[in-house]
């Protein structure tokens, strides 16, 4: 299936590029034709493809959208997320920047203030710290400080959090930092559907959006419906998704950890613990309604994040649940987070520094007051 998809996509791509750079109408026509190839049986695309197609479609639909960042153009993207965009849209709309985050981020924010719609890529969000003044003071706060005069329709995107073996300076999760700031929207896609829908919503949004991707998810494939592949598909900002329904315990998480929670849920189901997995999709605005509704149903909460625990996303979720659903809780709220250390390099230490599926399972049992592993022995 994947090969067929790949082949057809190559056909589509060549059709798109073969013409005069691909105008909106012909691209849409080609896309409509290509959809017929991808219909009934359901398809899978990688998160990378999801992001690429979303950016491509939005750039086709709105000439004000442009992409800038290090290696986004000729290199085809450090993680290949912007592959093919330079060829399709040209160097005026896909811009390779020098390695000067403060400068090019400020430039992007200024362009957004004027009325363009930049997508600024950070090779990882660790480097965005060099430009964080522009994200917060120039982008997030401007609509408010100007009494609504100047809005900043910009998307800051890139990989966030731990990769594999990239050590301390390249592994930080920034969800909690950006999630704290009024004026920012912070999105955390997990699968391909999230990636497509949230990216399109982010690009169309009139406010600054911090779009936290995950490097290890780029290559993962997820099944997507016809609806998801449609160019008009978007997801609402600020709404979480129930990935899996359950009745005994709510696990709230985001990004790569959603996969871990789902795997843990499968394991826990074997011993009779029914887990509901909530995929946040949006750190800010935070979908407190969905979180609390779920906890009121299950009466148990386990929060899961890869980043540091103190003042983290899980801290906010626990606070929200304790404030709004205290009397529904049958057990204390719990968090599984990264360890309170800079990310070590050695593989065994790195494993100890981030949550593992076993940690999630153990905590789930603890919250459900189960002392031992009651899974039936497998062959």
């Amino acid at each position: 299936m994947l090969a067929a998809f790949g082949k057809n996509r190559a056909l589509v791509s060549s059709l798109l590029r073969g013409g005069n750079g691909g105008d909106g109408a012909s691209a849409a026509a080609v896309w409509a034709v290509s959809k017929r190839f991808m219909s009934a049986s359901g398809d899978s695309i990688t998160v990378r493809e999801a992001l690429n197609s979303a950016i491509d479609e939005e750039m086709t639909a709105d000439s004000k959208v442009f992409v800038m960042g290090e290696e986004v153009g000729e290199y085809q993207g450090a993680y290949k997320v912007t592959k093919g965009l330079l060829q399709k849209f040209g160097p005026d709309r896909v811009l390779d920047t020098p390695i000067t985050e403060a400068g090019f981020t400020g430039l992007g924010v200024g362009a957004a203030m004027y009325g363009l719609k930049p997508i600024v890529e950070f090779m990882t969000f660790n480097f965005a710290m060099q430009a964080i003044d522009h994200l917060i003071n120039s982008a997030a706060k401007t609509n408010y400080m100007s009494g609504g005069t100047i809005n900043v329709p910009i998307v800051f995107r890139g990989p966030n959090g731990a990769a594999a073996g990239v050590a301390a300076q390249h592994s930080q999760c920034f969800a909690a930092w950006y999630g704290q700031v009024p004026g920012l929207k912070v999105l955390v896609p997990y699968d391909a559907e999230d990636a497509r829908g949230l990216m399109k919503a982010a690009i169309r949004d009139p406010d600054p959006v911090v779009f936290l991707e995950n490097e290890l998810l780029y290559g993962e494939s997820f099944p997507v419906s016809k609806e998801v592949l449609d160019p008009s598909f978007t997801l609402p900002i600020g709404k979480a998704k129930i990935m899996r329904e359950g009745s005994d315990l709510t696990i709230v998480t985001f990004s790569k950890m959603v996969g871990y929670a789902l795997k843990a849920a499968d394991e826990l189901a074997k011993e009779g613990i029914s887990v509901e997995v909530v995929n946040l999709r949006s750190i800010r605005p935070l979908d407190r309604e969905t979180i609390n509704a779920s906890v009121r149903k299950t009466s148990r909460l386990l929060c899961l994040e890869e980043g540091w625990p103190q003042h983290g996303v899980c801290a906010e979720i626990c606070a929200s649940v304790v404030e709004e659903s205290f009397y529904y809780l049958d057990a204390p709220v719990e968090r599984i987070c990264g360890a309170d250390v800079p990310m070590p390099y050695a593989a065994n230490l790195e494993r100890l520094a981030v949550p593992q599926i076993d940690d999630v399972i153990r905590a789930a049992r603890r919250i459900c007051f189960r002392k031992q592993d009651k899974r039936k022995a497998t062959a």
Binding site: F104, G106, D133, G147
Partner: protein, 482 residues
């Protein structure tokens, strides 16, 4: 109508050349001549308004001798500006009489006199800029600049209003109407006023926190500046920004930025957008000598030179970054050279005309070739902000010395007087009017109410999706963001 106008112009020219006959038609009206008529015509705009009203009556046949009486007088007096103004006053008094007596036909000639006076207001005057430009990797612009009586008068009035506004802000701060930060621009007026003379509505300006006068120059009103300073509803940012956060998107003014140096890459971004959207405009990214050492400025310069962005980096060098003199913070205080591969000019920032000339030159350059740096040699009379007396790191003699020798308003005053554009009395009237305008705006601003409490939660987002926001007491105050 057009033919008749042509005929009128020809007869005026004939009159001015000296061949005219004086018919004593209305000779006996000395007693009604109003000495103060001149004083009332304090602005060419008023003249124009009256002239336009009069022109609508200009179908009636002209009275040649009325024209002679007034034009002839002016020409007889040597055709000087004062003479013309007197002629206009006489025309006005004659017109009033004519209207009273039903001689509507007198209006047309009066209109002609006024239009003649008007056209002399916009007649070009050429002046030389006394302090030469210094150039880095570019030719200097000519020191001969073209201006007009109208332009110089506007310079004077606008700068005077700005000066009064900043002085009023000083008192407001001391009486605690203004809180927090207040960075005053008095002394530096020539920079933003001179700039505006070379820009249009396609251009953008972004500056730092010393922005009250820049905001005014881009089309803001004194009322909205005062109201914003005092945190009132009628402020340009609805009272939610304060002194450092004034914006006017329609006027091409992007603030008002509190973080030193951050506005420079933002300015490069504005220029990027102008180029992207093919708007024939430039962005002036302004910063001070204190910000001139910021890394992000050099990052912005690199990208804008690489991508040929139409941005002009304007360094308002008032020689002190807060309390630190330029020689204590910059290894090279020749800020116009700091762009390295970007050409630069050093400009006398206390001279409106020099600023205008430099910006005009830089704009032409930037639209073709990419960025340029302009260093404006200027001075602030106040300290860095209202919490800084401004005299611990510089001497009072230095401050008063600049005020005496280089004050931008005094310079224009001298030009207006020496070129017979205005008399001392007329300037006094202009000053009185400016003071009144500022005072009126101030009292109106004081009456403006504080923003409603709901405004706490507005404008967090342009689109809030009904997300919840909380007040200090989460159980008490929960709002759905619009």
């Amino acid at each position: 109508m057009a033919k008749r106008m042509q005929g009128i112009m020809e007869s005026i020219q004939t009159l001015c050349s000296g061949d005219h006959g004086n018919e004593g038609f209305m000779q006996d009206d000395e007693d009604e001549e109003e000495e103060n008529g001149v004083g009332r015509l304090t602005s060419w705009a008023e003249l124009l308004g009256f002239g336009l009203a009069v022109f609508s009556e200009a179908i009636a046949p002209q009275l040649q001798c009325f024209c002679d009486r007034t034009l002839g007088f002016a020409v007889g007096q040597g055709g000087s500006r004062e003479a013309w103004i007197k002629a206009v006053a006489m025309a006005m008094s004659l017109v009033r009489k004519a209207v009273k007596k039903g001689w509507v036909g007198a209006l047309a000639p009066a209109a002609r006199v006024m239009s003649q006076a008007l056209s002399t207001a916009s007649e070009p005057i050429t002046l030389d800029i006394p302090v030469p430009f210094k150039a880095h990797k570019v030719e200097t612009p000519s020191v001969t600049v073209e201006t007009s009586a109208q332009e110089l008068t506007n310079f004077f009035k606008t700068m005077f209003i700005m000066r009064r506004m900043e002085i009023a802000a000083d008192s407001l701060y001391k009486s605690k109407f203004i809180r927090g930060f207040c960075h005053l621009y008095d002394g530096q007026e020539a920079v933003c006023v001179g700039m505006e003379a070379a820009l249009n509505d396609k251009d953008c300006i972004i500056t730092a926190y010393r922005d009250h006068c820049t905001h005014l120059g881009r089309g803001g009103s004194v009322l909205e500046v005062f109201a914003e300073l005092m945190g009132r509803k009628d402020g340009c940012s609805l009272g939610k920004g304060g002194s450092m956060h004034m914006y006017n998107k329609k006027g091409g003014f992007y603030g008002g930025n509190g973080i030193v140096g951050a506005q420079t890459p933002l300015g490069a971004g504005l220029a990027f957008a102008q180029k992207y959207l093919k708007v024939e405009g430039v962005t002036l990214a302004m910063y001070g000598d204190g910000a001139a050492n910021q890394g992000q400025l050099f990052e912005a310069m690199n990208i804008s030179a690489l991508w040929n962005l139409p941005v002009i980096y304007v360094c308002e060098n008032n020689h002190y970054g807060m309390g630190t003199a330029e020689w204590r913070s910059a290894k090279s205080p020749e800020y116009y050279k700091r762009g390295d591969y970007i050409p630069g000019l050093k400009v006398d920032g206390m001279d409106c005309l020099a600023v205008k000339q430099a910006v005009k030159y830089a704009k032409e350059y930037a639209l073709q070739n990419g960025p340029m740096v302009l260093e404006m040699d200027t001075y602030r009379y106040h300290g860095h902000s209202m919490s800084d007396p401004g005299s611990t790191y510089r001497t009072r003699d230095e401050i008063s010395g600049v005020r005496q020798e280089r004050d931008p308003i005094e310079r224009i005053r001298k030009l207006l007087l020496s070129n017979n554009i205005a008399t001392v009395a007329e300037l006094k009237t202009m000053e009185k009017e400016a003071k009144k305008e500022v005072e009126d705006a101030l009292s109106k601003a004081k009456e403006s109410p504080s923003p409603d409490s709901d405004e706490l939660f507005t404008h967090v987002y342009r689109k809030g999706y009904g997300a919840k926001a909380y007040g200090a007491d989460r159980k008490e105050v929960v709002v759905k963001l619009p």
